[in-house]
């Protein structure tokens, strides 16, 4: 079907993932205020992309597979975004007029 990646590629990806796990853990100890979560999620996202693209071999897959893999995250963002539409603006109250 598709071209088959070498063992070396797989091991390299594994090594990167393991190192990134250490990195997440280490930076979590540094106090960066609100940025801790951003960094943690950024690294997690990057790790996820490595797994998806290489281990799951989406890199070599058809655009259709890529579309479906992407759709999940798009809908997840719809879910989260619209939750926050409510929660982030709960305290706001208009005084009288709306505009």
């Amino acid at each position: 079907m598709h071209e088959i990646p070498s063992v070396k590629t797989y091991v390299a990806i594994w090594a990167t993932l393991t190192i990134l796990t250490f990195v997440t853990y280490s930076v979590a100890k540094i106090d960066m205020g609100g940025f801790n979560i951003v960094v943690a999620m950024g690294i997690a996202f990057f790790k996820m992309m490595l797994v998806i693209l290489f281990f799951m071999n989406v890199k070599a897959e058809s655009p259709l597979t890529k579309l479906f893999a992407g759709a999940g995250f798009f809908w997840l963002i719809l879910l989260l975004g619209q939750f926050f539409l409510d929660y982030a603006t709960r305290g706001w109250m208009p005084e009288g007029k709306m505009w």
């Binding site: 709960r90 305290g91 109250m93 208009p94 009288g96 007029k97 709306m98």
Partner: protein
């Protein structure tokens, strides 16, 4: 047989007009579509079994026309509806307060002057009334059809709604959110009275004193007064002047002392520790105090707010003052137990 509900509040008419507008547009659209279907069905009925009509594949112009025009019409629904919704979101300044607690399956209503009723609400005509809504158990919904107002009553938080009645009379009061066995029995009456009648009615009841006095009594009974002294530092923060102020917390943050904050501090005292005090000094009162009691305590603490002229007014008078130009709780929709800033 009534076909249209009575309109007895300032907002009722504006909602009715919008409703008529919606009905008019919908009727036009329905008639249009129905007659097109009818006319086509009759005019183009099959006249011979081997009749083959010419195909028509579509028209971009028409498609755009019938997507854009309906949407513009719908935007007028949106605009008008949102306008009324926002205008009716906040009560006008000076609205009088009434406190409502929903409980399976009754409405418990208390007035700052001390009256308490079940499933009956008395309001004067022509005066804005703000209801503070609390639930002891599940979600209820406070619904007065004649006023076209409704708001859910969600446990764990305070909600508010308001209206100004325009016509004396007796109107239905319903619970509109399904709440269990006697949901359909959680109904009552709203009595709108002329102002003098209302004053009369107010002085009739209230044998237990005003809400402030009831709150003060609870403050003693529950032992709050042993630590929270009014004017002098004890083991716990002073109560006078707390309400409406910005409280400095131990972790460096400040919070606004509103209804929700006071409610949380009673039920979950450790949640926010005031700077200079220790956690675990105060026991939790969760399960030991009813939602009504909580509201009384809040009204009492509110009456101690600095702006209501400390020392000069007796606690009883302060309660009445809050219904007038006194301090209003600044935030109305915050989560009582929430740690949000």
């Amino acid at each position: 047989m009534p076909l249209f509900p009575e309109s007895a509040s300032t907002i009722a008419n504006s909602i009715d007009y919008l409703y008529f507008y919606l009905i008019a547009v919908s009727t036009i659209m329905t008639v249009l579509i129905f007659s097109a279907v009818f006319i086509f069905a009759i005019k183009y009925r099959r006249r011979s079994p081997d009749e083959i009509p010419a195909p028509i594949h579509g028209s971009l112009k028409l498609e755009i026309f019938w997507s854009v025009v309906p949407f513009i019409i719908m935007l007028s629904f949106f605009w008008w509806g949102a306008q009324i919704f926002f205008e009716s979101a906040s009560p006008p300044p000076g609205a009088m307060d009434i406190y409502v607690v929903g409980k399976q399956w009754m409405w418990k209503i208390q007035y700052p002057e001390g009256q308490r009723e079940i499933n009956e609400l008395h309001v004067p005509v022509g005066k804005p009334v703000r209801l503070t809504l609390a639930s002891e158990d599940v979600i209820h919904s406070f619904f007065i059809p004649a006023f076209r107002v409704k708001h859910d009553v969600v446990p764990g938080r305070y909600d508010t709604m308001w209206f100004t009645a325009t016509k004396p009379g007796r109107y239905h009061l319903f619970c509109a959110e399904y709440c269990g066995t006697e949901h359909s029995g959680m109904v009552g009456w709203v009595t709108v009275m002329s102002e003098p009648d209302y004053e009369n009615w107010l002085t009739g009841g209230g044998s237990e004193g005003t809400m402030v006095q009831q709150g003060e009594r609870l403050f003693q009974q529950l032992g709050c007064s042993t630590c929270h002294l009014l004017d002098q530092q004890g083991r716990c923060p002073i109560m006078r002047g707390v309400y409406g102020s910005h409280v400095q917390l131990q972790d460096g943050k400040t919070v606004l002392a509103d209804d929700a904050y006071i409610r949380e501090s009673i039920l979950n005292p450790n949640a926010k520790i005031v700077a200079g005090f220790k956690p675990d000094v105060m026991p939790t009162f969760q399960g030991q105090i009813s939602e009504e009691g909580l509201l009384q305590l809040i009204v009492y603490i509110k009456s101690l707010a600095i702006t209501s002229a400390p020392g000069t007014t007796a606690p009883g008078a302060a309660g009445a003052a809050t219904t007038g130009g006194g301090p209003r709780p600044p935030a109305k929709r915050t989560q009582p137990t929430g740690g949000k800033k």
